[in-house]
Amino acid sequence: MSKQFQFKLVLLGESAVGKSSLVLRFVKDQFDDYRESTIGAAFLTQTVTLDDQTTVKFEIWDTAGQERYKSLAPMYYRNANCAVVVYDITQSASLEKARTWIRELQRQADPSIVIALCGNKLDLAARRQVSQEEAKKYADEEGLMWTETSAKTGEGVTEIFTAIAQKLPLTAPSASRAPGAGRAGPGARTGVDLNKQPGTQALCFPPGPLWASVLLSFL
C-alpha cells in the first residue's frame, strides 16, 4: 500500500538570496530573472516520490517579506517539520544572516526540525564570496544538511528537497502534521472545520432554523 506523508517546510534567509526562486524552480520548474517578491500565495505544494510505496508532499511556506524587519510571526515556525535556510554564495553577509536564522529556528521551532543550509546562485560561482569549506564546516558543526544550488539553472534544487524528504521521519502517517490543505483523512484533525456546513442532524428540522434542534432537545 502506498503512503503519502505531508510536511510543512519553511524558507528562511535574507531578502534577495533567491528563496522564492528556489521554490518556483522546485514546484513549477520555472525561473524569472526579474522576479518581484511573492504575492498572493499562501503556500505552495510539491510532492517528492521516494520509492514505489512512498511519496512526501511538502507544504512550502514563503516568508512573504515578513523576514525583512524582524517581523516573522511565531505562526510561521509553528509545526514546521523542515526548514531551508538560504544564503547567496556571492554575498558573505548573507551567510551571517543565515546563521542568525538558524539560531532563531533552534530557539523557536520544534527541536526535531530538519534544517538544510543552502548556498544559492551557484551559476554566479565566478563571483563567489562564501567558500564551500566555510559553509560546510559550519553546517557540520550545527548538524545541518548542506548543499549549493542554482535556482536559475536548476542545479541541485530537486536534490536538496529529495534529500530532506529522505531525512524526515517517515514512521507513521500521523507525521503529516502540517496544517492546511492536506490534513489527511478523518481523524488526522481533532479540531472543528469552519468550512463544513453546519450540523447535518439539525437539517432534519425543515423549514426552521438549525438552532431549533438544540432548543427542542433542551426543553
Partner: protein, 446 residues
C-alpha cells in the same frame, strides 16, 4: 523608508490586522507597524517571558510552570462564536488554512450560589436545575415562538412586533420568571447588563438565534477557539496582508503622527524617520497623547481583567478543559455581568495540567479588584494572578476630515462580534463604501 504608502496601520491587534489584510487584498499599499516586538497588540497571546515582562518586569517566570514556548496567554478573554461574523471573515479570507480550531467544552451560568451548564444535549436539559418543570413549559412556548417567527408571516407573530415591542413585553407575554430572563438575556443573548429589556426585542431575537445556531453547529458550546491562542488570529491576517504585498515592521516605537497645517494626516515618525501615506489607521493607544492639542480618543469606561494560572480545572465544571462562566449582574448585585473564560493545554496555550482562567468585568467602583471577587471565588486555589485595568477608548471623530482613522479598544463582551462591527465601521470610513466579503480564489498549486 522613502516610499509612500496608501495606508499606514499602527498596532497589530486583531482589528488592525483584519483591516490590513483586507486592504492589501484590495490592492492598497500597506505599511503595518507595531511598537512591540510581538504581534497582537492588546489582543496578543504572550509566552511566559513576555507575560512576566509585561506585568512583573523584575521577576523571572517560575521554572515549575514549564517551558516558555508552551505558553500563549491571551490578554483579552474572548472566544469565537461559531456562526458569528468573525467566522465568516475567517472563511471568506481563507486564513483558516493557517489556523486550527477546537470547541470550547461548555458554557456555564451562575445562579443562586452555584454554576450550572447551559444544556447542549437532551440529557443535560432533563437534568438541568436552571428551570423548574412548569417554567420549562413556558420557556418552550417562548422558544417555539422565536423559532417559528417569519417576518413576512403575521400569523407567526402572535401579536408581537419585534421592532416596536420591548423584550419586557415579550417576556411578560410568555410569563417568564426573572431567573429565566437572566438566563435568556445574559447566558444566551450575552448582554452584559439589563438595558436591553426596555428596548425593542429584535436585537435580542437576533442574538438568541446567533447563540443557538452556533451551539447547534458543533454541539458542546457556541464557541470555538484557535489552537495556540487568540494571538494566532492577528498573525494569520498579518500573513494574508504580507502575501498581498503588505510591509511589516515590529518593534518600531512611534514618535509622532505628522499632520499638515490643516490638521490632515501626512505621515508617521519612527526612529527619527517620517514615512508618508495618504491615510493612517491605528488602535487608540497610538493616539492617546496628542502632539497638536487635539483629543482624538475618549475613555468610555474601564475593564478589569485578572489572568489566573490554575493547577486544576474549575470546580463544578465536570473537569472541562475549557469553559465560559457567566455571572449575571442580578445574581451579585451589580450592573454588569462578570465573565470567566478558561482554556488549557488542550488548546496548546499552556503546559499540561495548567489552566488559564481570565475573570473580567466592566469597572463600576473605585475598587475594581473587589468587584471580580465573586468570579475569583469560583476558581479554587489560584497559583498566580495578573491583574490589569484597561481603559476602553473610542475615537472622537470619523477620521474623514483628517485621514486619521482610529479603532476601538477590545470591550468586555465574550466574543468578537463587536470587533467585526468595528472592522466594518472603519472600512466604511476609510474606503467610503461598505465592506463586501468576496470569496477569494487562493493560489494553491498541486
Amino acid at each position: 523608508m522613502d516610499e509612500e504608502y496608501d495606508v499606514i496601520v499602527l498596532g497589530t491587534g486583531l482589528t488592525e490586522c483584519i483591516l490590513s489584510g483586507l486592504l492589501s487584498v484590495e490592492g492598497k499599499k500597506v505599511l503595518h507597524m507595531d511598537r512591540n516586538d510581538y504581534y497582537g497588540g492588546d489582543s496578543a497571546s504572550l509566552n511566559l517571558t513576555q507575560l512576566y515582562r509585561k506585568f512583573r518586569p523584575d521577576q523571572e517566570p517560575p521554572t515549575e510552570l514549564g517551558r516558555d514556548r508552551d505558553y500563549a496567554v491571551d490578554l483579552v478573554p474572548k472566544f469565537i462564536i461559531a456562526s458569528g461574523e468573525l467566522t465568516k471573515i475567517l472563511v471568506h479570507t481563507d486564513v483558516t488554512r493557517y489556523l486550527e480550531f477546537k470547541q470550547i467544552a461548555g458554557s456555564f451560568v451562575y445562579r443562586d450560589g452555584r454554576i450550572s451548564k447551559v444544556p447542549s444535549t437532551e440529557m443535560e436539559a432533563v437534568k438541568s436545575p436552571l428551570m423548574g418543570l412548569f417554567e420549562k413549559r413556558r420557556a418552550k412556548k417562548f422558544f417555539e415562538f422565536l423559532q417559528g417567527w417569519r417576518d413576512d408571516d403575521p400569523a407567526t407573530h402572535q401579536g408581537i412586533n419585534l421592532d416596536r415591542d420591548s423584550m419586557k413585553t415579550v417576556y411578560e407575554k410568555f410569563g417568564l420568571e426573572p431567573g429565566t430572563q437572566d438566563f435568556i438575556g445574559h447566558a444566551m443573548a450575552l448582554y452584559l447588563d439589563d438595558d436591553y429589556i426596555t428596548k425593542p426585542a429584535r436585537p435580542t431575537y437576533d442574538r438568541i438565534i446567533l447563540y443557538t445556531s452556533s451551539m447547534a453547529r458543533y454541539g458542546k458550546s457556541p464557541y470555538i477557539y484557535p489552537l495556540y491562542g487568540l494571538g494566532e488570529l492577528p498573525q494569520s491576517f498579518a500573513r494574508l496582508s504580507a502575501i498581498y504585498g503588505g510591509t511589516y515592521m515590529l518593534d518600531k516605537p512611534i514618535e509622532k503622527i505628522v499632520t499638515d497645517s490643516d490638521g490632515k494626516f501626512v505621515g508617521v515618525t519612527s526612529g527619527g524617520e517620517t514615512v508618508k501615506a495618504k491615510q493612517v489607521i491605528g488602535d487608540p493607544s497610538y493616539f492617546t497623547g496628542s502632539d497638536d492639542g487635539k483629543v482624538r480618543v475618549i475613555e468610555e469606561g474601564k475593564v478589569i481583567r485578572a489572568i489566573c494560572i490554575l493547577k486544576h480545572p474549575i470546580p463544578g465544571t465536570d473537569d472541562s478543559d475549557s469553559c465560559q462562566i457567566i455571572i449575571p449582574q442580578n445574581q451579585v448585585n451589580r450592573r454588569n455581568d462578570i465573565y470567566i473564560a478558561m482554556v488549557s493545554s488542550t488548546h496548546n496555550v499552556c503546559a499540561k495540567d495548567v489552566y488559564i482562567a481570565i475573570v473580567s468585568t466592566i469597572v463600576e467602583t473605585d475598587k475594581p479588584e473587589l468587584e471580580i471577587r465573586p468570579g475569583l471565588a469560583l476558581l479554587g486555589p489560584i497559583y498566580d494572578k495578573f491583574v490589569s485595568i484597561t481603559p476602553l477608548y473610542t475615537p472622537t471623530s470619523s477620521g474623514k476630515e483628517d485621514n486619521i482613522f482610529i479603532t476601538r479598544s477590545y470591550d468586555a463582551t465574550s466574543h468578537f462580534e463587536t470587533v467585526v462591527d468595528d472592522v466594518h465601521d472603519v472600512w466604511k470610513r476609510v474606503i467610503g463604501s461598505d465592506l463586501v466579503l468576496k470569496k477569494r480564489e487562493v493560489e494553491v498549486q498541486e
